[in-house]
Amino acid sequence: MRVYLEAARMSYRCYRTYGAATLAGLATNGFFGLLRSSVFIAFYEGRPIAEGYTLDDALTYVWLTQGMIMPLFLWGWLEIADTIRSGSIASDLAKPLDYFGFWLGRDLGRAAYHILYRWLPTILIGLIFFGIGLPGSALAWLAFALSFLLAIVLSFCLRFMINVVGFWTTDVRGIMGMVLLFVNFLTGFLVPLEFFPPALRAIVTELPFAAMISIPNKIFLEQAQGRDLLLLLGRQLFWVVVFVGAAWLLLRSATRKLVVQGG
């Protein structure tokens, strides 16, 4: 267990060495947040509520999801695939380590950094300039924190699996690109899933992608209480279990036919 904590701590420190990148990224996040906010402001002109979202809810949603971009890191992450391609994965595999756990630890360390230095400042920008709403009770914060954590683990599993495909093909970038096409829509990142046409929405909310952004977002907005809240968390947990299992199986079949590149 200690190993995985240490891996997390080191990964956190690695990201901390790139402060300038963080600042630049924050500026970009802020800019797109502004853009998305103004779209919603225009949309709500003369319309008090849409699909259960008031303008305030929509703005909260915008800044929350802008903040979640980096902690979830869904938009392209090839760290493992790169180690497969370069062959440096050999050193990791020649160690008495649970490979999945090792990278999960590393990714949680990375996410911790991005929560502190990307999510938090983005939320603050939303709070100061758009007066977005925050969860009103400690319990709501706790539920959100749990949901956020589950979403991060889930996103890690998805990225892990895409990367592990690198054992079979060197073109992981292409597959990652294809998945990302869907991720933007299906997670509810571009538009809340509630805004989808009912038939589509019924399907999309059933998919694991909803558990990455849509559910934590609903919980942050306190759209679900009591039993409903537990059901949402349960749904996330369910997908985490499924994804961890799938990632494990994929890794097992990958290591069984290991090919490490390069001399």
Binding site: R13, C14, S88, A94, K95, P96, I175, T255
Partner: protein, 330 residues
């Protein structure tokens, strides 16, 4: 029971002809077949055994299959045929269990965390290998001393010179007291001084702590300085397994006599020796130990010609190995 036991080891890679874009890649993942799969035999048929405490050189030209063999010995590659047993374990099946007993350095890449101070990588390894705190401190102090890590323990790895990084990697592979150390080109790209420092360290490690070492290198000086035994492979097959000294004598063990004649001679010839080269009055004569001894040759020479100076050159492994690479075994 030898520590490393390899029998008729084989590794074939299936190389998919590229193309098809991401969809093609996806199809290859799903069907495992795809179109145009070619087989490359990296290791064809290699057998050897290494005993405890040996230090063995594993040599061969580029693409001979050295790294591929090492990867199979560590368990990160599954053999296509034959068998490997390391310290009683089957590497690819018991990879994690074996990992605690071996150390590996891939000279061309690093296992250290690029952005963090060297000491951080070493600390993580202590947890990975579950080295007790006290033992770790002792070991770290010793390695720091022997490899002179002190000046750069706290510097980010990306700022280290290649020689410093290599010493860091060596330390990293030894913290957990492995029984066997695999070194894949540990001196690659290093200057003479840095190489010598690493050689001295390895000799000491092998002699004093009895660590078994298998190392690949393209530097024959590494071999003559470190190893008593060498394995030469090419095209995935074993060409030679034996003493480092013996090889020069057995194959292409030609010694060379450089002679400066006092005056020009039209067609100098000495029975038992071959005229390899001549430049004015200087002659290079090569001869085999079995055919004629150096004193006899020199006597024959002085009997025929007036000689100003003589130098005897012993065969060097480099030349022998080069010849084996080029022509195979005589």
């Amino acid at each position: 029971m030898p520590l490393v036991h390899v029998e008729h080891l084989q590794k074939r890679f299936r190389v998919a002809e590229r193309g098809g874009g991401p969809l093609g890649a996806l199809r290859r993942v799903i069907s495992r077949e795809g179109r145009g799969v070619r087989e490359v035999a990296a290791v064809e048929d290699i057998s050897f055994a290494i005993g405890r405490g040996e230090m063995v050189a594993y040599v061969g030209p580029n693409g001979a299959g050295k790294s591929t063999t090492i990867k199979m010995l560590t368990g990160i590659l599954v053999p296509s045929g034959g068998s490997v047993v390391v310290d009683g374990l089957i590497p690819w099946r018991q990879r994690t269990m074996l990992a605690a007993r071996i150390g590996v350095v891939f000279g061309q890449r690093t296992q250290l965390w690029w952005d963090l101070p060297l000491i951080e990588s070493l600390r993580l390894l202590r947890h990975i290998y579950k080295v007790p705190e006290g033992r770790y401190r002792e070991k770290l102090a010793r390695l720091t001393d022997l490899l002179d890590l002190g000046p750069f323990l706290d510097r980010p790895v990306r700022q280290l010179s290649l020689g410093q990084r290599m010493r860091g990697d060596l330390a990293a592979s030894l913290l957990h007291d492995p029984k066997i150390l695999y070194l894949d080109e540990p001196t690659i790209g290093l200057d003479v001084v840095a190489k010598e420092r690493i050689r001295t360290f390895l000799l000491d490690l092998n002699r004093r702590e009895g660590v078994t070492v298998l190392l690949t290198t393209h530097d024959m000086a590494d071999i003559s300085r470190l190893c008593e035994r060498m394995l030469i492979i090419d095209h995935g097959k074993l060409l030679y397994d034996g003493g480092v000294g013996a090889i020069a004598e057995r194959y292409g063990g030609e010694r060379r006599l450089v002679v400066d004649l006092a005056e020009d001679v039209a067609a100098p010839a000495v029975p038992g020796a071959r005229l390899e080269r001549r430049e004015g009055t200087r002659l290079w004569l090569s001869f085999r130990r079995e055919e004629i001894g150096a004193p006899a040759l020199i006597a024959a020479l002085t009997a025929r010609y007036a000689i100003r100076d003589l130098t005897l050159e012993e065969p060097d492994i480099e030349a022998v190995v080069r010849r084996i690479y080029e022509e195979g075994l005589p």
